[in-house]
C-alpha cells in the first residue's frame, strides 16, 4: 500500500472514525442549510434539528 493511501486512511480514521454515516449526515445537513439560505429562507433551524437526529441514529446503531 502506498504511503499516500495509508496517510489518507489515517486521516479518514482520525476525523470520521467508525461512523461514516454521521459524517455523511453532517455534510447533507450543511448542504441543506446552504440551499435553504441561498433561496432566501431562514435556515438556522436545520442544524439544531439534524444533529440530535444524527446522534440518536448513531447511538442506536452502536447499541444494536
Amino acid at each position: 500500500m502506498s504511503s499516500i493511501v495509508r496517510a489518507a486512511r489515517a486521516v479518514w480514521e482520525f476525523v470520521v472514525g467508525d461512523d461514516p454515516w454521521t459524517a455523511l449526515g453532517v455534510v447533507v445537513a450543511l448542504g441543506a442549510t446552504a440551499i435553504i439560505a441561498g433561496a432566501g429562507a431562514p435556515a438556522w433551524w436545520v442544524m439544531p434539528l439534524a444533529v440530535p437526529v444524527l446522534l440518536g441514529l448513531s447511538l442506536r446503531r452502536a447499541a444494536r
Partner: protein, 251 residues
C-alpha cells in the same frame, strides 16, 4: 474576553487535560520502569512536532475566507464532536468500557518490563513509547486548537489554554506521583463533545449562509440544548431493550 473566546478556552482546556492525563499515564509507566531521561526526551520531541503542526497549519487556515473557514471547520468540529459525544454517552450507558488509568498504567509497565532491561545510556524503548503516546494523544488536541483557534482568528488563545491544561496535569502528576485515576475523564469528554458539537452547529450553519436569531447569543441556547439532548440520550440508551451492557461496567 467574549463568550466565544471563553467557549474556545474551556473546550481546548478540557480536551487537552483529558488527553494529557492519558499521555501522562504512558510517560509515567516507561519513566518509572525504565528511563526518565529518555521518556522525557520523547515527550519533548513529540511536543515539538505538535507545536510545528499548529504553527504551520494555523496561519494557513486563518488565511481562508471566513465563510469557507466556518463551514469547513464547523463541519469538521461537528463530525469530531459527535464522535466524542457518542463515545461518552455509550460509556455513561455502560455500552463501552470506561478508560481505566490504573489498568492502563499496569499494562504499560508490564510491557516496559517485558521489553528487557534498559541500558545505562539512552533508552530507545522509553523514547519511542513516550513520543508515540504524547504525539497520538496530542494530535486530537492540535486538531481542536487549530479548528477552534482558526475560526476565531485566535490560535494563540487556544494554544495558551492547551499549555495551561498540560501544566495543570503535569503538576498534578508530579504531586500525586501516580496515574491520575480519579480525574472524571468521561465527564470531561462529554463536556468537550457538547462544546465541539455546539460550536460546530453554530459555525457550520453560519458558514453555510444561515443567520442565527440573536447572533452570537444563540450559543447560549445551543450549548445547553445540546447538553440536555445528550443527557436525555444517555437515559434513553440505558433503557433501550436492545442495549448490550459491558460486563462488570459501571452504568
Amino acid at each position: 474576553m467574549s463568550g466565544q473566546e471563553v467557549g474556545l478556552a474551556v473546550s481546548v482546556f478540557l480536551a487537552c487535560a483529558v488527553e494529557a492525563v492519558e499521555a501522562l499515564t504512558i510517560v509515567l509507566a516507561v519513566g518509572v520502569t525504565r528511563s526518565w531521561r529518555s521518556a522525557l526526551t520523547g515527550v519533548g520531541a513529540a511536543t515539538l512536532v505538535l507545536a510545528v503542526i499548529v504553527a504551520a497549519l494555523g496561519p494557513a487556515l486563518t488565511a481562508l475566507p471566513i465563510d469557507v473557514l466556518r463551514v469547513v471547520v464547523g463541519g469538521l468540529l461537528l463530525v469530531f464532536g459527535l464522535q466524542w459525544l457518542r463515545k461518552a454517552i455509550l460509556r455513561y450507558a455502560g455500552l463501552k468500557a470506561l478508560h481505566d488509568e490504573d489498568k492502563e498504567f499496569a499494562s504499560e509497565t508490564d510491557a516496559a518490563r517485558a521489553a528487557g532491561k534498559a541500558g545505562a545510556g539512552f533508552d530507545g524503548y522509553s523514547f519511542t513509547i513516550a513520543f508515540k503516546g504524547v504525539l497520538l494523544e496530542g494530535l486530537e488536541v492540535a486538531f481542536i486548537v487549530l479548528t477552534f483557534g482558526a475560526s476565531q482568528h485566535n490560535v494563540g488563545l487556544a494554544a495558551v489554554a492547551a499549555a495551561v491544561a498540560i501544566a495543570v496535569v503535569v503538576l498534578a502528576g508530579v504531586l500525586v506521583r501516580a496515574p491520575l485515576a480519579r480525574v472524571p475523564e468521561n465527564t470531561m469528554k462529554f463536556c468537550v463533545g457538547v462544546m465541539l458539537t455546539s460550536f460546530g452547529i453554530f459555525w457550520g450553519a453560519e458558514g453555510a449562509g444561515a443567520s442565527w436569531p440573536g447572533g452570537d447569543a444563540a450559543l447560549l441556547v445551543i450549548i445547553p440544548g445540546v447538553a440536555l439532548a445528550s443527557i436525555g440520550m444517555v437515559r434513553w440508551i440505558r433503557r433501550a431493550p436492545a442495549a448490550r451492557r459491558v460486563v462488570g461496567e459501571p452504568a
